[in-house]
């Protein structure tokens, strides 16, 4: 079957088998390897991308379901050479260690960023609650997100 998906502003029209997941489509068909595979079960959040404005687990969505969708991955977060405020604050606050959960964390934070300009601590915790990180202990990630909101809106 043929599936058309717009990823980071580029249209990918590819022939796929029906059981291809969106994650496989992004990594193998679009060649974007920034999105990570952590559990293939929708439980760790590493594969999170933004699909039509909402954060989704790309490992449990079929590529066919994403036909016609607009998708943003971690590669689409920065504007040319200018990092997104979230990316900048993740660096500044030490929210990145091994980096494997980072793309998923960033996309979850970006989705929050886009829909809620003044999230509470609880909103941030909620947005991250389905994302596992084994390195940072989450604290620097939360701080980075708070910091990005504060520096952007204040």
């Amino acid at each position: 079957m043929k599936v058309k998906v717009v990823i980071n502003g580029i249209t990918f029209c590819e022939e796929i088998s029906p059981n291809t997941t969106l994650l496989e489509f992004i990594k193998e068909k679009a060649g974007l390897t920034g999105t990570k595979t952590g559990c293939e079960n929708g439980e760790c959040g590493a594969c999170t991308v933004i699909m039509n404005g909402k954060p989704v687990r790309s490992c449990i969505i079929l590529a066919a379901e994403a036909h016609g969708a607009i998708i943003t991955t971690v590669e689409g977060l920065a504007e040319k050479d200018k990092l997104h405020p979230l990316q900048q604050s993740f660096i500044r606050k030490g929210a990145v260690q091994c980096g494997f959960c980072t793309p998923g964390m960033l996309m979850a934070a970006k989705a929050l960023y886009d829909r809620n300009p003044a999230p509470s601590q609880k909103d941030i915790e909620e947005a991250l609650s389905g994302h596992l990180c084994r390195c940072t202990g989450y604290k620097p990630i939360k701080e980075a997100i708070e910091d990005a909101f504060n520096s952007h809106y204040n």
Partner: protein
């Protein structure tokens, strides 16, 4: 510019790559002509393999190689060589790899796996380490007596399930107990847990027809992978090329060797095409090794004033089906297994025991997370029974300058101060006045009870006496440098700290120091393994030496050009200048590739600094007494916690964790704090949530994130506060020590002690689930009720 980089909070150098998705992990890689492999695992915990029929799998179009254990005459191991690449003759745990397929796609490989037929004859399994050393216990390895191992260091006992027996004898425990005012005997246990790196193990290997093996792997130790493969396959080291790109977390689980040999053998059978294996999350839990379980029995004799006079300790390690790494965990936990206390009489036996569980390996803390649960709970219990404040009790017994450790090592002024760490955290939680019985009752009635607790810890790098590493600093044409090391930065941030050290010594801007990211055994300098919190210490020292070597080479050239003796030259601001006349100088750039005089004559040549470091003065330990010098350095620490327990549900809320470590010198505060906060939260996982659960026949039930919970963003305390004590380590780079594993150790004991402080119940088993707390509360209520009735 003196000391401008040391102590500075510089964000990780590779952060940009990681926040933009540029960083490539093995998971993300593909090579031309690459095949995909899948593994068939055992459904039994212990069974004889009667037959394997792989003919149907081989017939499936797209299948390029099918392998079973009998085709692979290799055994692998670092310390105790006990493991085949695929199970041979019998399976020893549920989840063990039995056969593997390489095919054109993952889907074909998966289908082929389903076509392999294995007939098993179940054997009696053994799961409990204490049962496993009884005389009539089934043997997990009948051939233990014929296995090769590191002689003089380990002590496997043939004809038993004991893969290693570590013995330590100091003083006379019997006399110590005789002199004791009171004696306390307790048992503590903890289950196996998984490392849970977000990136599961992944490898791409090709075994070419020319006889070379090329590997990309998510490993902590590229040279260990190369060395072990060279030994197993009898291939020269120079023909094995191991590369490690970005790695998504390790925590010890990616030390040693894992899927690399299997991928290489599949490639060989498939005619040399590269083969990729990525462990599924289930395989990460169930097939790849985890952390050993522990049953600890401790008997402690104390004087009336609260001095520990004698301690008899037995550690029964549940090593699981293989113990290559487990033997060293048993050893390391043996020589430091009484905690950072000065005790005159100690008898310690640490048994690494085979069982039919998935096997154990290194995990952040290397045994210390496990045994400190026992040691630090025991100390609190004793203090309370003696009516001594647990802080005062510890202070009476902690190691201080002048103390002798249980292996006979003398603690010196610069060894580090555990007492200062403890004082720091105890003050931070305002430990002192205790609640009165009435106040406690009042809280209890309200349903939520608060408590405070603390615990200390120590750990030295657990490594062979000959552990070494090296570094190369290559100058580039523009006077910048590339620093090449072969320890892996899989998230710790070591490379950033090392760049700070290089920039500091070379007196050049850190922006001009490039850490070469991909480790490569063909071109990189040797490093034993990235484990044991030793990389900043040893790698840092190697880099300091490499920098001095490069400076010396530059001075050699400058001496000729500036017509000044070498010892009258100084460096600074990327220049070599004459001490008394700084206007006479050459820039690094001018000498980096050799200096050229105006007439064209040239001298010098490319500047390449070389540095090395080997652990000094370490000794093998006496096999009967465990006496000797096992420790490169000791990092000490302490945690203190504040908790609240809901007495109706047993639910525990961690309000505050304060942790202090004597790191010698903070090289990078941001990174040190990152290690501490991350380690504490991992320690919270071990304390409250994590543990393998099995069916009675040994099938792992907790092999996914549905059933195995690690802390999430909602589970962390409001306050996690990292603090540092700085007692410089004389032989550490700028005085620094490692602090990678330590933050995870003893978090559980601090929580366990706080639970007693809050509600008066002792939890002896991990994890401290709400159910365990609730049951303990109910049990206490029954006991109190009985006591009242008897009184009445």
């Amino acid at each position: 510019m003196s000391n401008s980089y040391i102590g500075k909070s510089i964000p990780r150098m590779e952060s940009f790559e990681k926040v933009t998705g540029i960083a490539k992990y093995v998971h993300d890689m593909a090579l031309p002509g690459m095949l995909y492999a899948k593994i068939l695992t055992s459904p039994h915990a212990h069974a004889r393999i009667v037959s394997i029929d792989k003919s149907e799998a081989e017939k499936l179009p797209g299948v390029k190689a099918v392998l079973v254990g009998s085709e692979l005459p290799y055994k692998l191991g670092l310390y105790l060589i006990d493991k085949d690449i695929l199970a041979k003759g019998k399976v020893r745990y549920q989840g063990e790899a039995v056969a593997a397929v390489a095919a054109e796609s993952e889907e074909i490989a998966r289908r082929a796996i389903e076509l392999i037929k294995v007939e098993y004859e179940p054997l009696t399994p053994v799961f409990d380490p204490v049962e496993a050393i009884q005389e009539d216990a089934p043997l997990v390895h009948e051939d233990l007596g014929s296995y090769d191992y590191m002689k003089g260091v380990f002590n496997p006992i043939a004809g038993t399930n004991i893969a290693n027996h570590f013995k330590l004898r100091k003083g006379d425990v019997e006399k110590g107990f005789k002199d004791s005012y009171r004696i306390f005997e307790n048992e503590y246990t903890m289950p196996q847990v998984n490392h849970v790196p977000l990136e599961t193990h992944a490898v791409i290997a090709e075994w070419t027809k020319s006889g070379r093996i090329n590997i990309y792997t998510s490993a902590q130790s590229p040279f260990a992978v190369r060395n072990l493969m060279s030994i197993a396959f009898k291939i020269p080291h120079s023909k094995i090329h191991v590369r490690v790109p970005y790695v998504g977390g390790g925590f010890g689980g990616k030390a040693g060797i894992h899927l690399e040999p299997l991928a290489a053998c599949l490639s060989k059978k498939a005619g040399g095409r590269p083969v990729k294996i990525v462990a599924s999350r289930e395989e990460e839990f169930n097939t790849i090794p985890s952390r050993q379980g522990l049953t600890a029995r401790i008997k402690t004799g104390v004087s009336e004033e609260g001095r520990v006079l004698a301690q008899e300790i037995v550690y029964y390690w549940d090593a699981g089906a293989y113990a290559d790494y487990g033997v060293n965990i048993g050893r390391a936990s043996g020589y430091s297994g009484a905690g950072p206390y000065e005790i005159e009489n100690v008898k310690l036996d640490s048994y690494t025991i085979y069982t039919n569980h998935p096997f154990g390996t290194a995990y952040r803390g290397f045994g210390h997370v496990e045994f400190f649960w026992a040691i630090e709970r025991q100390m609190d219990i004793i203090a309370r029974e003696l009516g001594i404040d647990p802080y005062e009790f510890r202070m009476k017994n902690l190691l201080k300058p002048g103390s002798i450790t249980i292996t006979g090592e003398k603690i010196r002024e610069n060894t580090g101060r555990v007492d200062k760490c403890l004082k720091t955290v105890v003050e931070a939680i305002e430990w002192g006045e205790q609640k009165t019985e009435e106040e406690k009752q009042e809280e209890f009635k309200k349903g939520k009870v608060t408590g405070k607790g603390f615990a200390v810890l120590h750990k030295a790098p657990a490594m062979p006496t000959f552990t070494s590493c090296s570094a190369i600093i290559k100058f580039n044409e523009d006077g910048s440098v590339n620093v090449v090391v072969s320890g892996v930065d899989y998230g710790q941030g070591t490379y950033t700290a090392l760049a700070q050290i290089a920039a500091e010594v070379l007196k050049m801007p850190i922006e001009k120091v490039h850490m070469v990211w991909e480790c490569d055994t063909d071109t990189g300098p040797y490093d034993w393994q990235t484990v044991a919190s030793r990389f900043t210490f040893m790698g840092g020292n190697a880099i300091i030496k490499a920098a001095h070597d490069a400076i010396d080479q530059m001075k050699e050239v400058a001496s000729a050009v500036l017509r000044a003796p070498k010892d009258e030259l100084e460096i600074g601001n990327e220049k070599i200048y004459v001490k008394h006349n700084p206007d006479e100088f050459l820039t690094y750039r001018e000498v980096a590739m050799g200096y050229t005089y105006p007439n064209g004559n040239s001298i010098g040549g490319p500047i390449i600094g070389r540095g090395k470091y080997i652990a000094q003065g370490l000794t093998n330990l006496d096999p009967e007494t465990g006496q000797g010098l096992p420790a490169l350095d000791w990092t000490y620490g302490a945690h203190a916690v504040e908790i609240e327990v809901d007495v109706r549900t047993g639910e525990l809320e961690l309000k505050k964790v304060v942790s202090a470590f004597d790191v010698g010198k903070v090289v990078n505060k941001l990174l040190c704090e990152g290690q501490v906060v991350g380690g504490v939260v991992q320690g919270i996982g071990t304390s409250l949530y994590e543990g393998f659960v099995y069916t009675p026949d040994g099938r792992l039930l907790t092999n996914s994130f549905t059933d195995y919970k690690i802390p999430t963003s909602k589970d962390i305390p409001d306050v996690v506060e990292p603090l540092f004590v700085e007692t410089p380590q004389l032989d550490g780079p700028f005085g620094a020590r490692g602090v990678a594993e330590h933050p995870m150790i003893s978090v559980h004991a601090a929580i366990g002690n706080a639970i007693y402080n809050a509600i008066g119940v002792d939890i002896m088993e991990l994890p401290i689930t709400s159910e365990r707390i609730w049951r303990a509360i109910k049990e206490k209520e029954r006991r109190d009720q009985r006591a009242k009735t008897l009184k009445g």
